[in-house]
Every structure is written in C-alpha cells, then in structure tokens.
C-alpha cells in the first residue's frame, strides 16, 4: 500500500505537483476537471468517485480543494469518509496569502487571476461563461468590476503578458502580485505534519 494520494482540483494540479516534488512527499496526484467549478454541485460526487477508486491503494488521501461553492457538502462528504481537506474557501484566498479580504475590501470589484486561470482564461472565462459566443455578455458579468489582480505563482513574463491580455479582454486595469503558493504550501505542510499517519 502506498502512503499518500492527493485528489486535487485541476486548477491546483501543477502547483501541488511542484510542492510534492519540493517537499519529497512522494504522493500520487489525481486531478479532477476544472470546469466543475462552474457547477460546484458536481464537485462532491466527482471527489467521491475518485476516493472510491483509489481508497484501497493508499494509507491516506488528502483533498486539495476549497469549499468552492459546494455549500459545505464537500466537507460533509469528507467527514463521512474520514478524509481531510486543505483549509480554505477557494484557491484565490489560498494564494492571496492572507491578503484576500484586504484586497476585496479595498476594491469589492476585484477579479482575481492565478497562473492557472491566466493560462486557461479563454477556455474557463471566455468560453465557459459564453462571452465568446455573445460578446455583449461580458458587460453583464463584469460591469461592476474595477480591476484584475493577478496572484502570480511563478514569475514568468509570458504569463504576465497573457494576464495583461486577459485584463484587456475585460477592459480592466491589471495589478500583478507575486504571491507564490501563498497559504497553500503552509496549509498542506501542516496537514501532513499534524497527521500522525501522514508525517513522513
């Protein structure tokens, strides 16, 4: 039996893989489709299915998801299954490194980007919200927004350029904040260190 499996939101997969390598956790990482985000009701059953598939093969399974608008039903499922989840409401809060509330207070009309969302902005935002088909919808979604804040995990000029393109698509000014993994790294480390079965 292997030690740890991470079941992760596709939007966090790349970062979790990097952290797994950095800290030598030796975990296997299983991703779930990012598009579930637009229909959070489908997240708990998808997580459940993955847990059922791999349960017998791992001593421990850790879920790397926020509540993500599942109305607490993800946490209820995990409590039943006896499986732990990294703390946090959504990945923007995790990456913002404690500054999420402050940024929102400063400008309630803040739209966040992460490395992942920058990379898949066309797919998740433009296509996912139907703006590619009906450009006038952009203003229905975003007319109350005042800025885009890119919480950057990597320092990569091509991502920064793409973030600029994304902000331009929305007609909003861009701010870039180099946050790295934010609270995600510390919370994952804590989860692994605090759990007697998990600490390596």
């Amino acid at each position: 039996m292997k030690d740890i499996a991470f079941i992760v939101c596709g939007a966090l997969a790349r970062e979790v893989l990097a952290l797994n390598k950095k800290h030598n956790w030796g975990a296997d990482v299983f991703g779930l489709p990012v598009l579930l985000h637009n229909e959070p009701d489908r997240i708990p059953p998808a997580v459940q299915e993955r847990i059922d598939q791999i349960r017998g093969e791992y001593k421990n399974i850790v879920i790397v998801y926020g509540d993500c608008g599942t109305s607490g039903s993800l946490d209820r499922l995990l409590a039943q299954e006896g499986v732990q989840r990294v703390a946090g409401p959504h990945c923007y809060e995790m990456y913002a490194n404690g500054s999420f509330e402050g940024l929102m207070e400063e400008q309630p009309g803040t739209f966040f980007l992460t490395d992942y969302l920058v990379g898949s902005f066309d797919h998740l935002v433009l296509e996912g919200l139907g703006i590619d088909q009906n450009p006038q919808l952009r203003d229905d979604y975003f007319s109350n927004y005042t800025r885009v804040v890119y919480l950057a995990q990597r320092e990569d000029p091509s991502l920064q350029q793409r973030a600029k393109w994304a902000a331009d698509c929305l007609g909003l000014p861009l701010e870039i904040r180099q946050t790295g993994y934010g609270l995600l790294e510390g919370r994952l480390l804590k989860l692994i260190n605090d759990s007697p079965q998990l600490s390596l």
Partner: protein, 229 residues
C-alpha cells in the same frame, strides 16, 4: 428561426408557447414582440407575465437545476425576461394588479455577484411582490435604511462567496438589536449556503433557487398572516 414566424397569425396559446421558447433561447427582441402582440389582443399584463414570462423562466430554472442549461443561457434568458418585464411593469402598476407583499433584496457587502439575485428579484416581482432591489455590495446601513423606508414583509440576502456569506449574520444581528427582526421574514440564498447555515444565522429559510424562493416566500407569508397554507 422565430423571425420567420408571423406572430399575428398565431393562436394565443401558441403565442404563449412561443414566448416561452424564445425566453428559453434568450431572444429578447422576439419576447418583446410577442408581449406586445398579446397585449394588443387584450390579454391582461398580469396574464402575459404569468402565462408567458414566468412560466417560461420556470422551465429555464428547472433545466438549469438539472444541468441541461448553463449560466450563460440562464443569463440570456433572464435578460429576455427583463426586456419583457420592462414593458409590463408600468402596465401592471396602471392596472393596479394586486401585490402580495414587499421584498427588499440585495447582495451583501463585499460581494458583487448579482445574476442570481436579479433573477430572484424578477421572479418575485412576477409572483406579485413589490421588489426593492438594493443591488450589490449592500452594507447593513443600506439594508436598515431600506427596511425603514419600505417596511417590507421580506428581506432577501444573496451571497456567492464563503467569505461574504457571514455578513448575513451581521445584518440579522442588527435587526435583532433594533427589535425589528420578528417583523420580517428573512430569506437567504447563494451557492455556498445551505439549510444549516441559514439556521445558524437565524434566517427564516435558505432557498436553493428562485422557484424555491417564491414558493417559500408565499408559504411563510401565508402562515404569518394566518391564511391557509
């Protein structure tokens, strides 16, 4: 497709069906044309609203819940309904259509998601409520002021973020402090909420969607007014 149809030649029941189809497809101009045609046939504004727009939007709501329609389609349908409502609203007021109560609704402070809240507003209006929509990022003072001014039967609050839904408790506590909590029904909704949360913050009910919102509002008001449920 529907632009090829001569709506003046359709029987009224067919036209009502067409409105519902056009609403489903988010065709605002077509919905407006059919609303005008029905009014020209002397259908009452409230019948056009209920048998056309509200009935159509209910279908949209069911198909959204069942994963057949997605957010953009719902948004397009809501825009089409709004276009129809804009014609009907002044007529409803003019004809003195009966109102069953007043609702003050807003998305809470820190949150600017408004698609769901606006849809709830429209469906409540369709159900005969006088709706005061305070918009987004609504703080406790704005809620209190509107309550004082409009004396609503129902307060509706929407939040789509785990980080903002807790603000609903702040508003309810303020109502309690002012001693007016019991004069109102408080309905709450939004993706990250559930029944347990509504109970915890002492709201009267959590509503999964606009249809449940309308049903709950009517039911709880009837109970409160001592009418048979």
């Amino acid at each position: 497709m529907s632009e090829e149809i001569d709506i003046t030649k359709l029987e009224t029941p067919e036209l009502l069906e067409l409105i519902q189809d056009d609403l489903y497809d988010g065709l605002a101009d077509e919905v407006v044309a059919s609303v005008n045609e029905l009014l020209a046939r002397d259908m009452t504004p409230s019948d056009v609203l209920n048998k056309g727009l509200v009935a159509g939007m209910e279908i949209v709501g069911f198909d959204f819940r069942d994963g057949i329609l997605f957010v953009p389609e719902v948004l397009m349908a809501a825009k089409a309904m709004k276009a129809g409502m804009e014609i009907l609203r002044p007529l409803l007021i003019e004809t003195g259509a009966t109102q069953i109560g007043t609702l003050v609704i807003g998305t809470v402070k820190g949150d600017i998601h408004d698609i769901g809240k606006n849809l709830v507003s429209m469906m409540m209006e369709g159900a005969g409520f006088n709706v005061i929509n305070l918009g987004i990022n609504t703080d406790v003072d704005a809620f209190l002021e509107a309550i004082e001014e409009h004396k609503p039967d129902i307060l509706g609050m929407s939040a789509m973020l785990t980080t903002t839904m807790t603000y609903m408790a702040v508003v309810i506590e303020a109502l309690e402090e002012k001693g007016i909590r019991d004069q109102l029904l408080v309905l709450v909704g939004g993706a990250p909420l559930n029944d347990a949360f509504a109970e915890e913050i002492r709201a009267d009910a959590y509503c999964r969607d606009a249809a449940v919102g309308v049903e709950t509002a009517k039911k709880l008001l009837a109970i409160r007014r001592g009418q048979p449920g």
